[in-house]
Amino acid sequence: MTVVTGQDQIAAEETQAPKGRGFIRSLLRNRNFAIGLIIFLTVALIPVFARMSIDPATRRTGAFPARQPPSAEAPLGTEALGQSVYVQLTEAVPNSLQVGLIAATMGTVLGAIVGFVSGYFGGAVDTLLRISIDVFLSVPSLLFLVLIAALVRGVSVQSMALIIGLFAWAWPARQVRAQVLSLKERGFVEIARLSGMSGLEIVFFELMPHMLPWLGANFVNAFIAAILAEAGLSILGLGPQGEMTLGMMIYWSNNYSAMLLDLWWWWVTPVVTLILLSFSLYLIHLGFDEVSNPRMRAEG
């Protein structure tokens, strides 16, 4: 054993997550985060930009000969109705991202609000919110998603996102509540109260900064979950029939027996895109976790 002087200082530095700009810098230096970000941007942005440069005429069904393998005109082949799979992808990816964005934002913001209110103010409100959190957590959300999606006939991309977001708040709410409960016992909350800060100010300026990295990681997680939930529902035939998402691409390819007809480019394209999106977002999430929770970096 070596004698360590100024022990509290060293211990403190070890358990402190980097703050503010330092946080972003160490985030970018994190290998998982960087790789994840690069893959994600590549997969997500190419279709978004390509969409603008595509001639609207090529979006029609029958714009290309049907069931063609990848060629110069249709880089990813064409499907059974003569649409270019590549053109479909440029519509599907932004739509799927939109679902993820709306649902994750909704879930994270709602969850954070519920968690903060429940944890900080306590009392009867807390009891009520805690019970509803537990109820939402214990029923399998997928089942209710299927139920709702089946009953809301003719969903759009946006309503799909809202339905998914409706089930995305309970987990962050529970985590935020638990964190707030432990944070509010810390001395600085009392000091802030004695310094004249109001409850809302304490939540925003004293507690929120501690939660931000976690909320960021949760947002990414919810983003993946929402994209995958959309795909799952769409594959079951409950997706937005009139629009194109990654899930709907798989649904249509299944519907027209792409596998049986050996039109591999049709179903492999959305499947690979989905896997890459999910994988890259998970890496980003991991990076977030490692940077905001230095204990996780201990591993060699």
């Binding site: 179903w267 499947v271 989905l274």
Partner: protein, 310 residues
Amino acid sequence: MPRLVPGDPLSAVFMKMSEMGGSAGIPELVAEYKRMFGLDQPLGAQYISFWREFLQGNLGYSISIFPSKVTDIIGLALPWTIGLLSLTTIISWILGSVIGAVVGWRGSRFRLSRPIVLAALLLYTTPYYILALILIFIFAFQLNIFPLSGAYTRGATPDLSLPFILDVIEHGMLPALSIVLVSLGWWFLSMRSLITSQKGEDYILNAEAKGLKERRILWGYAFRNALLPQTTGLAISLGHIVGGAIITETIFAYPGIGWVIFNAIKGLDFPVIQGGVLLIIVAVVVANFIIDILYPLIDPRIRYQTAGGG
């Protein structure tokens, strides 16, 4: 609760009937059916009668497959779901935990760590229905080894004969594989990070200082401590089995609960939906209850607490 949503179940049935060329739209018949299912009553009364019947063990009759009871339909589907999912979940849990423990313990000393972790990451982030599609493509279409859908060959009569059991195993292979592989990734990753975080703990250092064998420290010390959160995970996912099965079972047309509920939802067959949802919630509650019972067996600290009376 499902009845609060818009949509008239009977019109869905009659639409189906008319598609099949049946005599649809006869008003008297509609009224008669409505009376039978109690749909002419206000919602509150429907709700009360549901619970009254439920307490007597009666979940009512299915609307779309009329003469059969909901309990019969669910009873028929339940063994398939439980058989397929609990088996696969437990297999992947054991495999994932053990491999995760070894890889987490050896860390970077183990040359295969990196590729294994990468593979697990890929598996975990791939949704199981996507993996199911890939498996279907490889095994059912390309290699033609395993059948595409169903739980047994159409037309075979379920019995306990050897050929039938083999048939069931053959049919269960693909859905099972898709579930095992995906959840394997998750169990592996969570066990690995649990073990890694245990590695630096004082009690491990102490065990090393005492000169205990490495094998003993890993399995008797670190693994045992990591088992508690891992078991919680297992219990939770067992509770969610019934509900989580929907997509897999639907893709493989596997006649389990998920498949039944999915079809019931499509046909607005409320009694079956109600029964299914009820079953799922009961499963979650029972799983939570089992966790509470199991905890003291795994973690003695919890036993002390209850004995000491807090």
